[in-house]
Amino acid sequence: MKLFSRFKPQGGVHPDGRKDLSADRPIRILPMPEQLFVCLQQHVGAPASPVVQVGDRVLKGQLIAAGQGNISAPVHAPTSGRVVAVGDYPAPHPSGLPMPTITLVPDGEDCWAELDVPADPYELAPEAIAERVAAAGIVGLGGAAFPSAVKLNISRKTGVQTLIINGGECEPYLTCDDRIMRERAAEIVSGIRLIQRAVGCREALVGIEDNKPEAIAAMREAAKGSAVQVIAVPAMYPMGWDKQMTRALIGKEVPAGGRSSDIGVLVHNVATAYAVHEAVVLGRPLIARLVTVSGAAVKIPCNLEVPLGAPAQALFDYCGGYAEVPARMVMGGPMMGHEMPNPNIPVVKGTSGVLALTHKEIGQPVPSPCIRCSTCVRACPVGLLPLEMAAQIRVGDLAASVDIGLKDCIACGSCSYVCPAHIPLVHYFNYAKGELAAKERAKLKQEGTRKLAEARTERMERIAREREEAARQRAARKAAQEAAKKAAAEAAAAAQQESTPA
């Protein structure tokens, strides 16, 4: 049995962890806030479509918005209460643009809807497990928020040998996965067994960074007697990147542009495994998650179990409020999370943390010229040349940056973090990716409109042709009629002449 990873990860950085702020306090449950703002797109794919109306009373766990299309996820009521609005609300997104959101006023009774609890969850058919995971609205809780059932179905169909459970949690400050492994290891292992059954794979590896010894011990204890192996991997950022974890655990790389299933691997986060247990064993949909509340500006940093849709402000308030005025509030971790335009942004399924950071923590360095020190090259876990890509984007040559790998960038932020010249490298890359996508959309639109215009021109020509044809036919008919008339008249005249004998 393997206890430690044998494979050396590529690149990466070692940011100041700051996990001690919140790691040692047990999970607490956030009291129900006055209002919940439940976003209808908490996942990758099509937004869910609301199935309730303003004024409806809903029960905890009741479906309030159904998934749309192949890649989507339904949304459920996090508690019982009344729907007071179905409309737009600022999204948990750096743009702060509005997103369709259902606003719920809890009634305080927290009354569950009727739940469908299977008699023996571990005897369910693989398809049935995937169906239940889909119906529960489970998405990747590590932050990617990809619908989990979609991954289960692909993996079942293509066949995977290895299930990797990602306990990396490499982002500084965040400790929600650490705490869930320490406190709810048995449920996680139960979820792992269910996922294994759903995709039919025997091997299950749990990769945990070696800076979480308590979590490793708790998971090993819970995994005793099962096929689940718990393996310590070196602590570094970004170890929680699923492909880095895969490389660290089994030494294989996912081909560029491919999926984990291409190398027979399925990766899920530990919190996702816990959600699968809740959904399949207890019949509970995904309506709450663990969120790390941390940062030096928070009085009592800790981990909270939070109903989805709770505004971040409610979390900060429950953690004793601010120790000082925060310089920046961040949703997610400091490396890849995004700044919240205001603290009323709601928690969604992919929210692993809300941070209130001080000036000292973020630092606001002024960019200076690149000295080509190549620290970014050594830090990049993908093997890219961030300095070259940024230089090309800066002068507007986006195509050249794509040639040297822009599309392979995972925006982990390692390069920006280590850059001694404080160049906003990832910002350049995300700008370029957005610009390229917009160009692509514009091109598609132009092609579409060109087709429409051509179709219209053709139609107009056809109509004109038909009109002309019709006019000609009319004229011909008229001429023929007249000719016939004339002929008849002549004939008549002739007949008359004939009938009048001389």
Partner: protein, 178 residues
């Protein structure tokens, strides 16, 4: 001296001959440029450039008798693409580009006269007589023909609204320090 003159002359003659033969034998039939330029243009035949449709504009561009900035609906991207294709320098600051726009019908003013969708080159306006018309954004090229055709000034060109799907990060500000 004589040898140098002679050898250089011979060299020049031979190379000139080679170039002449190459120009004959490797000549490209027709002018593919017009078609390539037409592929860059929006193709909505809106006529705002003053030429009879995009094909006319493409011919004028290929012959050099029209500036690359002639296409208002194309915006900056089309200007840049044309300049690159034709190998000309262009001062982009003169190009009006308020970002992409689309037509929008003001419902309170629309009388359902159907004149706009008769002129729309891409069939982007939906509706029927005596009903309020609507613009299908994905098909609208913002050519402005409907704006001119509308008798009640109910149609405006508005910037395409930014959505969560279309939003992206702005380019980082150029640093000022050396």
């Amino acid at each position: 001296m004589l040898i140098a003159v002679a050898s250089l002359t011979t060299l020049g003659l031979l190379l000139g001959l080679f170039l002449g033969v190459a120009a004959r034998r490797l000549a490209v039939e027709g002018n593919p440029l017009v078609e390539e330029i037409q592929a860059i243009l929006p193709g909505s035949q809106c006529g705002q450039c003053g030429f009879p449709g995009c094909a006319g504009a493409a011919e004028a561009l290929a012959s050099g008798s029209a500036p690359v900035t002639l296409c208002p609906p194309g915006g900056r991207d089309v200007v840049a693409a044309l300049a690159a294709k034709l190998g000309v320098e262009v001062d982009m600051s003169g190009v009006k580009d308020s970002g992409p726009t689309v037509a929008e019908v003001r419902e309170e003013l629309c009388i359902g006269c159907t004149r706009c969708f008769k002129v729309c080159p891409t069939d982007a306006i939906l509706g029927a007589a005596k009903h309020i018309h609507n613009v299908f954004r994905e098909a609208c090229t913002a050519c402005g023909k409907c704006v001119d055709a509308c008798p009640t000034e109910a149609i405006l060109l508005r910037p395409v609204p930014v959505t969560l799907q279309s939003w992206y990060w702005e380019k980082p500000e150029e640093r000022l320090a050396a």
